[in-house]
């Protein structure tokens, strides 16, 4: 009796070889998908050509001819469609960035409040989350916009704010700081203070690890970052001039202007996303075993530091991944701006530019690429942060 070597398998026809089969199927699938994609693109191009609809990106440098209400870079109706694209993109980024910061603050406060032992506080937070989370965002945006417009006084009965500002249903108008010669010293002082504060913190931490002594890092940092530039500001002879808003026949001009559309959109997005973040935070905190809190208490830590130093850092590992998707949601939801008249990317580019040029395929492709890029960059940043926050095994 001869032993059959283990490696020698019975001969199977290639047709029944599982490896060959898998590869063949996958190749076939790829080929089919590639063919379908190719024919879809080809078909679209052919149809556009046959209907003599303009295609390509030449429109990018044509004069736009329309006006935009909020422009953070130079723009007028004589600028190009390309410029209008950038105006819209920047408006989207601004509302998304400010929205993310504010929603995070609101969410953390509400999430922690919901776990509070204070009955009223936790019920209020619970009510906020349940009410806001269960209503459509568009409805909320329209509500805030109309609430903002109806609640504020007419232009002619503007509320005058202390310090030379105005508030009415056309927006919030504040004195605009104009930086003059000498301001660069203040900026330099700020940078120096910031570096100093970071250096002090590193030094304080090393000392605490060595000797156990704590240093008042917070106060020193405040002094360096705020105090130092303030002193330099007065020494340099107050190099900021305020441009005050002036009442005209119809509107208030000059100064810093915050549109009601922007406020309504920001408010709606922050309140809505904040409710979701509150739940994420609550889940994250509850995921940290109660033993950790008890251990911290038994070491003599008070509830505040326990939350800050023991619970939250561990909770962050659970919080960050779902928090990322909330950030992405907020950014993408900002495209609802069009319903409250805020000139974001979708309103300006996928709206007016698309309509004026009629080049739906190009415009929508660009818009999708932009949102994809923003989302991927946000994801990357959050993943990097997450890997830093991950539990380090020793």
């Amino acid at each position: 009796m001869t032993a059959v070597p283990a490696s020698e398998r019975p001969k199977v026809s290639l047709l029944y070889n599982p490896r060959v089969r898998t590869i063949a199927y996958q190749t076939l699938l790829c080929a089919i998908i590639a063919f379908l994609a190719w024919s879809a693109v080809n078909n679209a191009i052919e149809n556009l050509r046959r209907a003599r609809i303009a295609s390509g990106f030449e429109f990018w440098k044509f004069t736009s001819g329309f006006d935009i209400s909020q422009t953070l870079i130079d723009y007028s109706s004589t600028a190009t469609y390309g410029r209008a694209f950038w105006v819209g993109l920047i408006n989207t980024l601004v509302v998304a960035a400010i929205g993310i910061v504010l929603a995070t603050i609101v969410g953390f406060l509400a999430g922690i409040a919901r776990l509070s032992k204070n009955w009223l506080l936790s019920r209020l937070a619970g009510g906020y989350v349940e009410l806001i989370r269960n209503l459509p965002l568009l409805l909320q945006l329209l509500f805030w916009y109309n609430a903002v417009l109806k609640a504020l006084p007419d232009m002619r009965e503007s509320v005058t704010l202390p310090g030379g500002g105005f508030l009415n249903n056309r927006g919030l108008f504040l004195p605009q700081p104009n930086f003059q010669a000498g301001f660069e010293w203040v900026l330099a002082a700020f940078v120096v203070g910031l570096i100093g504060a970071i250096a002090f913190r590193i030094w304080a931490r090393r000392r605490q690890e060595r000797t156990g002594e704590q240093a008042p890092v917070g106060w020193v940092a405040l002094g360096l970052v705020v105090g130092l530039p303030l002193i330099v500001y007065f020494l340099a002879g107050q190099p900021i001039a305020l441009a005050y808003p002036q009442k005209g026949r119809f509107n208030i001009s000059g100064g810093l202007e915050l549109l009601p559309e922007f406020v309504a959109l920001l408010f709606g997005l922050v309140i809505y996303t904040g409710a979701f973040i509150a739940e994420v935070v609550r889940a994250g905190i509850l995921a940290v075993s109660h033993g950790q809190t008890e251990a911290a208490y038994s070491l003599g830590l008070r509830p505040g530091p326990t939350l800050r130093l023991v619970v939250i850092p561990q909770a962050m590992r659970v919080i960050v991944p779902p928090l990322t998707s909330q950030y992405l949601n907020l950014t993408k939801n900002s495209s609802l701006a069009v319903f409250v008249g805020y000139p974001d990317l979708v309103q300006v580019f996928a709206g007016t530019v698309l309509n004026q040029t009629g080049q739906a395929v190009e415009v929508i492709a660009v818009t999708m690429a932009v949102y994809l890029t923003i989302s991927l960059v946000t994801s990357l940043a959050m993943n990097w942060y997450n890997s830093r926050m991950a539990l380090v095994e020793r």
């Binding site: 699938l29 089919i32 998908i33 379908l36 994609a37 024919s39 879809a40 078909n43 679209a44 149809n47 556009l48 046959r50 209907a51 003599r52 609809i53 303009a54 001819g65 329309f66 006006d67 935009i68 209400s69 007028s76 109706s77 004589t78 109309n146 417009l149 109806k150 007419d154 232009m155 249903n169 056309r170 005209g248 026949r249 119809f250 509107n251 001009s253 009601p260 559309e261 069009v338 319903f339 409250v340 008249g341 000139p343 309103q347 709206g351 007016t352 698309l354 309509n355 004026q356 040029t357 009629g358 739906a360």
Partner: protein
Amino acid sequence: MKRVLTSIICAAALGFAASSADAQTLTTVKTRGGLNCGSNPGLAGFGLPDAQGNWTGLDVEVCRAIAAAIFDDPTKVKFVPLTAKDRFTALQSGEVDVLVRNTTWTSSRDTSLGLNFTGVDYYDGQGFMVRKALKVNSALELSDAAVCVQQGTTTELNLADYFRANKMKLKTVTFATSDEAVKAYDAGRCDAYTTDASGLYSERLRLANPNDHVVLPEIISKEPLGPAVRHGDDQWFDIVKWVLYAMIIAEEQGLTQKNISEALGSDNPDIKKFVGTEGNYGEQLGLTKDWAVRIVKHVGNYGEIFERNVGQGSPLKIQRGLNALWTKGGIQYAPPIR
């Protein structure tokens, strides 16, 4: 296998409805048994559904006339409400067969957007509406004013051009639909609301206190509004064009909904050609001999639909003005049927 199926479906959906671009629209419409007509979602006098879902308006009647000419039944129309921003994409992609949605005929729309305008069913021009309390008498006083406007319209461009040409400062607030723009104007967000003059009269009726608002005298642009079809189907282009002409010719000849049946026995050669008792002009269009009779019988002549929807028989009470026949001081004119 499921995945393969999904990707095939996705790709097919992406593939831009290959047939719609060059298909014979008339055949498609006949097979479908109804006309898909892109309409204004709500502009009194032009396109507006009532509580029962019955559409009324000047543009709506043009669609009904096309359906009447094809099917001898003006109800065989499905109205697709479109915002100003979405209307051209809907027509380009074949979602609607014809767009009759107070759309201004411009060169770029006629060329690079891939559309053909078939005529003008309403000669309009852009104006401004302001509150009486502002004591503004002319649009030239509007420098620095906040103006509410609907997105994706020629209005949006004319507005910027007008203010630039007159060296006035402008604050526009742009909305996706006229509904939102009007609401914001009514709430005091803007000093002025701008659109085509006919639209101003129509929208004014929807404001909380219509009498507190006034339409300024300046007309700052030419807005010839008319039906549009896709490039690439000449037969369909001809049909939509001649349906409108037929309504204008009917008014010229004094043919109305009431007397059209008597006209069938007329000896007048022009009327004989119109009603199809002489020649085969309807068949040349790909329709029947009595195509024009069907239009007038079911919908009426141009003057009738004008008065009924925007003129003296309507709450808008707009004068014929430019829209009167060329024989009566206006510029509505149609080539002859022969």
